[in-house]
Protein backbone atom coordinates (compact mmCIF):
# COMPACT_ATOMS: atom_id res chain seq x y z
CA UNK A 1 0.00 0.00 0.00
CA UNK A 2 1.40 3.37 -0.98
CA UNK A 3 0.92 6.55 0.95
CA UNK A 4 -1.14 9.11 -0.92
CA UNK A 5 -1.78 11.84 1.59
CA UNK A 6 0.46 14.00 3.70
CA UNK A 7 -1.81 13.12 6.60
CA UNK A 8 -1.07 9.40 6.27
CA UNK A 9 2.61 10.10 5.80
CA UNK A 10 2.77 12.06 9.03
CA UNK A 11 0.73 9.47 10.89
CA UNK A 12 3.33 6.94 9.83
CA UNK A 13 6.46 8.98 10.54
CA UNK A 14 5.19 10.47 13.79
CA UNK A 15 4.21 7.01 14.96
CA UNK A 16 7.77 5.83 14.50
CA UNK A 17 9.02 9.04 16.11
CA UNK A 18 6.97 8.37 19.22
CA UNK A 19 8.43 4.89 19.53
CA UNK A 20 11.91 6.33 19.07
CA UNK A 21 11.29 8.94 21.74
CA UNK A 22 10.50 6.28 24.30
CA UNK A 23 13.66 4.43 23.34
CA UNK A 24 15.69 7.64 23.57
CA UNK A 25 14.47 8.42 27.07
CA UNK A 26 15.22 4.93 28.32
CA UNK A 27 18.51 4.76 26.45
CA UNK A 28 19.68 8.14 27.70
CA UNK A 29 19.09 7.15 31.30
CA UNK A 30 21.09 3.98 30.81
CA UNK A 31 23.84 5.79 28.99
CA UNK A 32 24.19 8.38 31.74
CA UNK A 33 24.62 5.61 34.27
CA UNK A 34 27.24 3.94 32.06
CA UNK A 35 29.04 7.23 31.59
CA UNK A 36 29.27 8.13 35.25
CA UNK A 37 29.58 4.67 36.70
CA UNK A 38 33.28 4.98 37.54
CA UNK A 39 33.18 8.57 38.70
CA UNK A 40 34.79 8.89 42.09
CA UNK A 41 32.70 11.79 43.25
CA UNK A 42 29.18 10.88 44.03
CA UNK A 43 26.94 12.09 41.23
CA UNK A 44 23.61 10.56 41.76
Amino acid sequence: MDIFTLQDFYTYTKGITYILMVLILVGMTGFWLFLTERDEDDYE
Binding site: Q7, Y10, T11, K14, G15, T17, Y18, L25, T29, E44
Partner: protein, 394 residues
Protein backbone atom coordinates in the same frame (compact mmCIF):
# COMPACT_ATOMS: atom_id res chain seq x y z
CA UNK B 1 -3.78 40.60 59.14
CA UNK B 2 -1.32 40.61 61.99
CA UNK B 3 0.58 37.56 63.03
CA UNK B 4 -1.24 37.46 66.37
CA UNK B 5 -4.73 37.05 64.82
CA UNK B 6 -3.41 34.47 62.42
CA UNK B 7 -2.21 32.48 65.35
CA UNK B 8 -5.64 32.64 66.90
CA UNK B 9 -7.54 31.51 63.84
CA UNK B 10 -5.32 28.89 62.43
CA UNK B 11 -4.96 26.13 65.03
CA UNK B 12 -7.38 23.40 64.00
CA UNK B 13 -10.57 24.41 65.74
CA UNK B 14 -12.70 21.82 67.43
CA UNK B 15 -15.90 22.59 65.53
CA UNK B 16 -16.28 21.33 61.97
CA UNK B 17 -18.47 24.31 61.15
CA UNK B 18 -15.66 26.68 60.34
CA UNK B 19 -16.50 29.23 57.64
CA UNK B 20 -14.13 27.43 55.28
CA UNK B 21 -15.79 24.08 55.81
CA UNK B 22 -19.31 25.43 55.47
CA UNK B 23 -18.66 27.28 52.23
CA UNK B 24 -16.64 24.39 50.81
CA UNK B 25 -19.40 22.01 51.80
CA UNK B 26 -22.09 24.03 50.03
CA UNK B 27 -20.01 24.33 46.88
CA UNK B 28 -19.28 20.62 46.84
CA UNK B 29 -22.95 19.71 47.26
CA UNK B 30 -23.91 21.98 44.36
CA UNK B 31 -21.06 20.54 42.34
CA UNK B 32 -22.27 17.02 42.93
CA UNK B 33 -25.78 17.92 41.81
CA UNK B 34 -24.44 19.44 38.58
CA UNK B 35 -22.28 16.36 38.16
CA UNK B 36 -25.34 14.13 38.22
CA UNK B 37 -27.05 16.39 35.69
CA UNK B 38 -24.03 16.41 33.41
CA UNK B 39 -23.74 12.63 33.31
CA UNK B 40 -27.43 11.84 33.01
CA UNK B 41 -28.69 14.62 30.74
CA UNK B 42 -25.62 15.32 28.63
CA UNK B 43 -23.46 18.33 27.96
CA UNK B 44 -26.28 20.51 26.64
CA UNK B 45 -28.06 20.38 30.00
CA UNK B 46 -25.29 22.13 31.88
CA UNK B 47 -23.20 23.97 29.30
CA UNK B 48 -23.56 26.69 26.69
CA UNK B 49 -21.28 24.85 24.30
CA UNK B 50 -22.36 24.83 20.68
CA UNK B 51 -21.00 23.82 17.32
CA UNK B 52 -19.07 27.06 16.89
CA UNK B 53 -17.65 26.89 20.38
CA UNK B 54 -16.89 23.24 21.02
CA UNK B 55 -14.54 24.33 23.80
CA UNK B 56 -15.72 26.40 26.74
CA UNK B 57 -14.27 27.29 30.11
CA UNK B 58 -13.73 23.64 31.03
CA UNK B 59 -11.01 23.68 28.42
CA UNK B 60 -10.11 27.38 28.46
CA UNK B 61 -9.88 27.67 32.22
CA UNK B 62 -9.67 24.19 33.74
CA UNK B 63 -7.26 22.73 31.19
CA UNK B 64 -5.39 25.65 29.61
CA UNK B 65 -5.05 27.86 32.69
CA UNK B 66 -4.96 24.93 35.11
CA UNK B 67 -1.96 23.33 33.49
CA UNK B 68 -0.12 26.64 33.29
CA UNK B 69 -0.75 27.42 36.94
CA UNK B 70 0.40 23.96 37.98
CA UNK B 71 3.79 24.67 36.44
CA UNK B 72 5.25 25.57 39.83
CA UNK B 73 6.20 21.94 40.37
CA UNK B 74 8.60 21.61 37.49
CA UNK B 75 9.92 25.15 37.78
CA UNK B 76 10.81 24.82 41.45
CA UNK B 77 12.22 21.33 41.32
CA UNK B 78 14.30 22.29 38.28
CA UNK B 79 15.64 25.36 40.09
CA UNK B 80 16.61 23.42 43.17
CA UNK B 81 17.75 20.06 41.85
CA UNK B 82 19.07 20.91 38.39
CA UNK B 83 20.27 24.48 38.73
CA UNK B 84 21.46 23.76 42.26
CA UNK B 85 19.64 26.59 44.04
CA UNK B 86 19.61 24.77 47.34
CA UNK B 87 18.44 27.77 49.26
CA UNK B 88 14.95 27.35 47.78
CA UNK B 89 14.72 23.81 48.97
CA UNK B 90 11.82 24.33 51.34
CA UNK B 91 9.69 25.55 48.41
CA UNK B 92 9.94 22.24 46.55
CA UNK B 93 7.47 20.15 48.47
CA UNK B 94 4.60 22.62 48.49
CA UNK B 95 5.21 23.27 44.77
CA UNK B 96 5.21 19.56 43.94
CA UNK B 97 2.04 19.08 45.95
CA UNK B 98 0.25 21.93 44.18
CA UNK B 99 1.51 20.68 40.85
CA UNK B 100 0.28 17.18 41.51
CA UNK B 101 -3.11 18.35 42.74
CA UNK B 102 -3.35 20.77 39.81
CA UNK B 103 -2.76 18.09 37.22
CA UNK B 104 -4.99 15.60 38.99
CA UNK B 105 -7.79 18.16 38.90
CA UNK B 106 -7.15 18.97 35.25
CA UNK B 107 -7.60 15.32 34.39
CA UNK B 108 -10.64 15.17 36.66
CA UNK B 109 -12.15 18.20 34.90
CA UNK B 110 -11.56 16.62 31.49
CA UNK B 111 -13.94 13.84 32.45
CA UNK B 112 -16.71 16.42 32.53
CA UNK B 113 -15.79 17.98 29.23
CA UNK B 114 -15.24 15.10 26.85
CA UNK B 115 -18.31 13.35 25.52
CA UNK B 116 -17.31 9.85 26.57
CA UNK B 117 -14.87 10.14 29.45
CA UNK B 118 -14.48 6.42 29.92
CA UNK B 119 -12.74 6.41 26.56
CA UNK B 120 -9.99 8.77 27.67
CA UNK B 121 -7.37 5.98 27.46
CA UNK B 122 -8.39 5.17 23.87
CA UNK B 123 -5.69 7.35 22.28
CA UNK B 124 -3.11 5.13 23.93
CA UNK B 125 -4.86 1.79 23.83
CA UNK B 126 -6.92 1.74 20.65
CA UNK B 127 -5.64 4.00 17.91
CA UNK B 128 -2.90 6.58 18.17
CA UNK B 129 -3.61 9.85 16.44
CA UNK B 130 0.06 10.68 16.21
CA UNK B 131 -0.45 13.75 14.04
CA UNK B 132 -2.58 15.42 16.70
CA UNK B 133 -1.08 17.91 19.11
CA UNK B 134 -3.78 16.78 21.48
CA UNK B 135 -2.29 13.30 21.44
CA UNK B 136 1.02 14.81 22.48
CA UNK B 137 -0.65 16.80 25.26
CA UNK B 138 -2.59 13.77 26.46
CA UNK B 139 0.48 11.54 26.54
CA UNK B 140 2.61 14.09 28.36
CA UNK B 141 -0.07 15.03 30.87
CA UNK B 142 -0.68 11.38 31.67
CA UNK B 143 3.03 10.70 32.11
CA UNK B 144 3.71 13.89 34.02
CA UNK B 145 0.84 13.22 36.40
CA UNK B 146 2.52 9.91 37.16
CA UNK B 147 5.90 11.60 37.65
CA UNK B 148 4.38 14.19 39.97
CA UNK B 149 2.64 11.48 41.91
CA UNK B 150 5.91 9.65 42.49
CA UNK B 151 7.67 12.89 43.37
CA UNK B 152 4.94 13.60 45.89
CA UNK B 153 4.92 10.17 47.57
CA UNK B 154 7.82 10.78 50.00
CA UNK B 155 5.53 13.08 52.01
CA UNK B 156 2.78 10.53 52.70
CA UNK B 157 5.43 7.82 53.15
CA UNK B 158 7.13 9.84 55.86
CA UNK B 159 3.74 10.51 57.36
CA UNK B 160 2.97 6.80 57.40
CA UNK B 161 6.49 5.84 58.45
CA UNK B 162 7.39 3.87 55.30
CA UNK B 163 11.10 4.63 55.47
CA UNK B 164 12.44 2.08 53.01
CA UNK B 165 10.03 2.99 50.23
CA UNK B 166 10.60 6.67 50.88
CA UNK B 167 14.34 6.35 50.53
CA UNK B 168 14.02 4.51 47.22
CA UNK B 169 11.86 7.29 45.79
CA UNK B 170 14.20 9.98 47.08
CA UNK B 171 17.05 8.29 45.19
CA UNK B 172 15.07 8.83 41.98
CA UNK B 173 14.75 12.58 42.52
CA UNK B 174 17.14 13.62 39.76
CA UNK B 175 15.66 11.29 37.18
CA UNK B 176 12.12 12.36 38.02
CA UNK B 177 13.04 16.03 37.92
CA UNK B 178 14.61 15.75 34.48
CA UNK B 179 11.65 13.75 33.19
CA UNK B 180 9.35 16.34 34.66
CA UNK B 181 11.08 19.19 32.90
CA UNK B 182 11.06 17.39 29.55
CA UNK B 183 7.41 16.46 29.80
CA UNK B 184 6.45 19.95 30.97
CA UNK B 185 8.35 21.63 28.17
CA UNK B 186 6.48 19.45 25.74
CA UNK B 187 2.93 19.68 26.94
CA UNK B 188 3.02 23.29 28.09
CA UNK B 189 4.12 24.29 24.62
CA UNK B 190 1.80 21.84 22.89
CA UNK B 191 -1.20 23.37 24.60
CA UNK B 192 -0.41 26.51 22.64
CA UNK B 193 0.32 24.48 19.53
CA UNK B 194 -3.22 23.05 19.68
CA UNK B 195 -4.39 26.26 18.06
CA UNK B 196 -1.86 26.19 15.25
CA UNK B 197 -4.31 24.15 13.21
CA UNK B 198 -6.93 26.91 13.30
CA UNK B 199 -5.27 30.01 11.85
CA UNK B 200 -8.56 31.14 10.37
CA UNK B 201 -10.40 31.09 13.69
CA UNK B 202 -8.00 32.69 16.15
CA UNK B 203 -7.49 36.43 15.94
CA UNK B 204 -4.21 37.20 14.11
CA UNK B 205 -2.79 39.07 17.10
CA UNK B 206 -2.99 35.92 19.20
CA UNK B 207 -2.34 33.44 16.44
CA UNK B 208 1.36 33.04 15.82
CA UNK B 209 3.76 30.38 14.75
CA UNK B 210 5.42 31.10 18.10
CA UNK B 211 2.34 30.00 20.06
CA UNK B 212 4.08 26.95 21.53
CA UNK B 213 7.02 29.08 22.66
CA UNK B 214 4.69 31.70 24.14
CA UNK B 215 2.88 29.02 26.10
CA UNK B 216 6.05 27.44 27.39
CA UNK B 217 7.65 30.70 28.50
CA UNK B 218 4.48 31.98 30.10
CA UNK B 219 4.11 28.70 31.97
CA UNK B 220 7.44 29.42 33.66
CA UNK B 221 6.10 32.82 34.68
CA UNK B 222 2.88 31.24 35.92
CA UNK B 223 4.82 28.62 37.87
CA UNK B 224 7.07 31.14 39.58
CA UNK B 225 4.20 33.46 40.40
CA UNK B 226 2.06 30.66 41.75
CA UNK B 227 4.82 29.59 44.12
CA UNK B 228 5.07 33.15 45.50
CA UNK B 229 1.32 33.59 45.65
CA UNK B 230 0.66 30.28 47.25
CA UNK B 231 3.46 30.55 49.79
CA UNK B 232 2.09 33.88 51.00
CA UNK B 233 -1.35 32.30 51.37
CA UNK B 234 0.09 29.26 53.12
CA UNK B 235 1.97 31.52 55.45
CA UNK B 236 -1.23 33.21 56.33
CA UNK B 237 -3.24 30.09 57.03
CA UNK B 238 -0.75 27.37 57.83
CA UNK B 239 2.00 29.29 59.64
CA UNK B 240 1.74 26.88 62.56
CA UNK B 241 2.62 24.05 60.22
CA UNK B 242 5.86 25.59 59.02
CA UNK B 243 9.23 24.80 60.46
CA UNK B 244 11.99 27.33 61.00
CA UNK B 245 13.77 26.49 57.76
CA UNK B 246 10.61 27.12 55.79
CA UNK B 247 9.92 30.44 57.46
CA UNK B 248 13.55 31.48 57.23
CA UNK B 249 13.77 30.61 53.53
CA UNK B 250 10.39 32.03 52.64
CA UNK B 251 11.55 35.56 52.12
CA UNK B 252 14.49 34.44 50.02
CA UNK B 253 12.17 32.30 47.90
CA UNK B 254 9.82 35.22 47.29
CA UNK B 255 12.65 37.57 46.35
CA UNK B 256 14.49 35.06 44.21
CA UNK B 257 11.39 33.87 42.38
CA UNK B 258 10.18 37.43 41.87
CA UNK B 259 13.49 38.34 40.32
CA UNK B 260 13.32 35.32 38.02
CA UNK B 261 9.70 36.05 37.11
CA UNK B 262 10.53 39.65 36.30
CA UNK B 263 13.33 38.59 34.00
CA UNK B 264 11.24 35.94 32.24
CA UNK B 265 8.37 38.42 31.86
CA UNK B 266 10.78 40.80 30.15
CA UNK B 267 11.75 38.03 27.74
CA UNK B 268 8.12 37.09 27.21
CA UNK B 269 7.24 40.69 26.44
CA UNK B 270 10.03 40.84 23.89
CA UNK B 271 9.00 37.71 22.03
CA UNK B 272 5.34 38.78 22.05
CA UNK B 273 6.37 41.99 20.28
CA UNK B 274 8.44 39.96 17.86
CA UNK B 275 5.33 37.84 17.28
CA UNK B 276 3.38 40.90 16.14
CA UNK B 277 6.20 41.97 13.90
CA UNK B 278 6.81 38.54 12.38
CA UNK B 279 3.27 38.43 10.98
CA UNK B 280 3.15 42.18 10.39
CA UNK B 281 0.07 42.55 12.55
CA UNK B 282 0.75 46.13 13.66
CA UNK B 283 -2.33 47.52 11.97
CA UNK B 284 -4.60 45.32 14.11
CA UNK B 285 -3.43 47.15 17.21
CA UNK B 286 -5.72 50.05 16.39
CA UNK B 287 -8.85 47.88 16.36
CA UNK B 288 -11.00 46.85 19.32
CA UNK B 289 -9.28 43.50 19.60
CA UNK B 290 -5.97 45.33 19.27
CA UNK B 291 -6.77 47.41 22.34
CA UNK B 292 -7.71 44.29 24.23
CA UNK B 293 -4.44 42.73 23.13
CA UNK B 294 -2.58 45.78 24.41
CA UNK B 295 -4.40 45.55 27.73
CA UNK B 296 -3.10 42.02 28.06
CA UNK B 297 0.40 42.85 26.87
CA UNK B 298 0.89 46.07 28.82
CA UNK B 299 -1.33 45.50 31.83
CA UNK B 300 -0.55 41.87 32.50
CA UNK B 301 2.94 41.39 31.09
CA UNK B 302 4.82 44.69 31.08
CA UNK B 303 3.27 46.01 34.29
CA UNK B 304 3.94 42.96 36.48
CA UNK B 305 7.44 42.79 35.02
CA UNK B 306 8.12 46.31 36.31
CA UNK B 307 6.29 45.77 39.60
CA UNK B 308 8.28 42.62 40.32
CA UNK B 309 11.49 44.48 39.54
CA UNK B 310 10.59 47.32 41.89
CA UNK B 311 9.53 44.83 44.54
CA UNK B 312 12.86 43.05 44.30
CA UNK B 313 14.90 46.24 44.38
CA UNK B 314 13.01 47.58 47.39
CA UNK B 315 12.72 44.17 49.04
CA UNK B 316 9.02 44.94 49.23
CA UNK B 317 7.36 41.59 49.92
CA UNK B 318 3.83 42.97 49.93
CA UNK B 319 4.28 44.38 46.45
CA UNK B 320 5.73 41.09 45.28
CA UNK B 321 2.79 39.21 46.71
CA UNK B 322 0.21 41.37 44.95
CA UNK B 323 2.20 41.31 41.74
CA UNK B 324 2.20 37.54 41.79
CA UNK B 325 -1.62 37.60 41.94
CA UNK B 326 -1.72 40.07 39.06
CA UNK B 327 0.61 37.91 37.00
CA UNK B 328 -1.37 34.76 37.63
CA UNK B 329 -4.52 36.58 36.61
CA UNK B 330 -2.77 37.75 33.46
CA UNK B 331 -1.82 34.22 32.44
CA UNK B 332 -5.38 33.03 33.01
CA UNK B 333 -6.60 35.93 30.89
CA UNK B 334 -4.17 34.99 28.13
CA UNK B 335 -5.44 31.41 28.06
CA UNK B 336 -9.06 32.55 28.01
CA UNK B 337 -8.30 35.04 25.25
CA UNK B 338 -6.80 32.38 23.07
CA UNK B 339 -9.33 29.63 23.67
CA UNK B 340 -12.51 31.70 23.93
CA UNK B 341 -12.42 35.46 23.50
CA UNK B 342 -10.20 35.84 20.45
CA UNK B 343 -11.41 32.49 19.11
CA UNK B 344 -14.10 32.93 16.45
CA UNK B 345 -13.43 36.61 16.90
CA UNK B 346 -15.40 37.55 13.78
CA UNK B 347 -18.67 36.09 15.08
CA UNK B 348 -21.33 38.62 16.06
CA UNK B 349 -21.72 39.11 19.79
CA UNK B 350 -24.94 37.10 20.06
CA UNK B 351 -23.29 34.03 18.58
CA UNK B 352 -20.33 34.19 20.92
CA UNK B 353 -19.99 31.85 23.84
CA UNK B 354 -20.62 32.80 27.40
CA UNK B 355 -20.38 30.08 30.04
CA UNK B 356 -23.53 28.67 31.61
CA UNK B 357 -23.61 29.21 35.37
CA UNK B 358 -23.36 25.47 35.85
CA UNK B 359 -20.13 25.38 33.86
CA UNK B 360 -18.74 27.98 36.22
CA UNK B 361 -20.21 25.93 39.06
CA UNK B 362 -18.21 22.88 38.06
CA UNK B 363 -15.02 24.91 37.69
CA UNK B 364 -15.50 26.40 41.16
CA UNK B 365 -16.36 22.96 42.49
CA UNK B 366 -13.13 21.53 41.14
CA UNK B 367 -11.01 24.34 42.57
CA UNK B 368 -12.73 23.85 45.92
CA UNK B 369 -12.04 20.13 45.90
CA UNK B 370 -8.42 21.05 45.27
CA UNK B 371 -8.33 23.41 48.25
CA UNK B 372 -9.92 20.87 50.56
CA UNK B 373 -7.47 18.15 49.57
CA UNK B 374 -4.57 20.60 49.88
CA UNK B 375 -5.68 21.54 53.38
CA UNK B 376 -6.09 17.91 54.35
CA UNK B 377 -2.58 17.04 53.19
CA UNK B 378 -0.80 20.12 54.49
CA UNK B 379 -2.22 19.75 57.98
CA UNK B 380 -1.10 16.13 58.16
CA UNK B 381 1.93 15.43 56.04
CA UNK B 382 5.40 16.93 56.13
CA UNK B 383 4.94 19.52 53.38
CA UNK B 384 5.69 22.83 55.01
CA UNK B 385 8.16 21.32 57.46
CA UNK B 386 10.75 18.59 57.35
CA UNK B 387 9.91 15.32 59.00
CA UNK B 388 12.13 14.95 62.10
CA UNK B 389 13.32 11.50 60.93
CA UNK B 390 14.44 12.81 57.57
CA UNK B 391 15.89 16.22 58.38
CA UNK B 392 18.03 17.63 55.59
CA UNK B 393 17.66 14.34 53.76
CA UNK B 394 15.39 15.03 50.85
Amino acid sequence: MSEATVGKISPPSKSVYTPFNVIAGIIIVIGLVITVLRFTKGLSAVTNLDDNYPWGIWIGFDLMAGVALAAGGYVTSAAVYIFGMKRYHSAVRPAILTGFLGYALVVFALHYDVGRPWRLPYPFLMQQGTTSLLFEVAACVALYLTVLFIEFTPAPMEWLGLKRARNIVVKLTMLLTIFGVILSTLHQSSLGALFLIAPAKLHPLWYSGYLPVFFFISSIIAGLSMVIFESSLSHRYFAHKMDETHIAEKEGVALGFAKAASLVLAGYFSIKVIGISADNNWHYLGTGFGLWFLVELLGFVALPCMLYAIGVRDKNLTLIKWTSALTVFGIVLNRLNISLIAFNWYLPAEEKYFPHWMEIGISVFIVTVGLVVFKFIVTRMPILYEHPDHKGGH
